[in-house]
Point group: C2
Chain length 204, copies 2
Amino acid sequence: MKEKGLLIVLSGPSGVGKGTVRKAIFSQEDTRFEYSISMTTRNPREGEVDGVDYFFKTREEFENLIEQGKLLEYAEFVGNYYGTPVDYVRETLDSGKDVFLEIEVKGARQVREKFPEGLFIFLAPPSLSELQNRLVTRGTESDELIRGRMETARKEIEMMDLYDYIVENDHVDHACEKINSIVQAEHCRRERVQLRYKKMLEVD
Amino acid sequence: MKEKGLLIVLSGPSGVGKGTVRKAIFSQEDTRFEYSISMTTRNPREGEVDGVDYFFKTREEFENLIEQGKLLEYAEFVGNYYGTPVDYVRETLDSGKDVFLEIEVKGARQVREKFPEGLFIFLAPPSLSELQNRLVTRGTESDELIRGRMETARKEIEMMDLYDYIVENDHVDHACEKINSIVQAEHCRRERVQLRYKKMLEVD
């Protein structure tokens, strides 16, 4: 009768501030999510602790885990592997807790395939809205510059297809508040709550 | 390019505290919803103001409005009509503002038919969760009493079918917070935001 937790995936284009937003969420006192620590083959930076910031692994260990299907998603960046251990995610969800992942767009696509019922949040750059302002108050910037920005925006908007929610990162606090609201709202979704009530009556 | 507002419908079994929750929401300073004032043929109670608490109408006026299709929903209770004027709702939504209705379950069903895209929130009595506790700690109450409560619960759970979200009214403040979160989350839904961005690019 234990209800499963939600898998919350925060992603978005690189440089949008995913890490900052994630850290802000986990610095709140009343955060009710569990953070899934990533695994990497890159060397620890000064101050980074194994099992807190990352699980640090050798290339060989990482590749063994890939072969054993122990990674929910993984990707290689600048010669290093980054990935999400699947066992922690499954066990935490089964225990009824929400799990929070902050990962790259490519990784999010892999997770969607394995957890289609996850909650996928796209962190959007405020440049999209700024672009709108620039389009309205033309004349201050060259057409070429605007066209380039529109091309970038077009690609970012296409990336959103996979996601359930879009949160604009205009300000870290606003973004955190919206993400918290989204998770709270999802816990109130009728299918989820009604099922819990129905199960309750079956006790008889 | 103006985005339409959301139609938010708060309903639930009679006696659950819909009115109290609605008043608490509208007493918040930063409420961003417009309250749709109901129309009624009942007499004003002491202190009630026409156009603030209700639009007070004669039976004849009300029935004319029904005939003209000017009511989004209506019902008769204890010999009096209660209903929601449709023009105000449509105009406010078109202006981009969210409209909040607090209505009976029957009325909510009528609104769902006309505004399937509305946001329907069911306020659930905390007795449902209390019932669960009672079922677990049996022995303190008669089986007959428990069966009666389970029958009521079953009917309430069936009523939920129509709704998008369930909010348990265990405490007015919690219920308000959840309703605010639900509306904020709905404004972040991908389809909605992505469409706005796409329209923005069409400007070119």
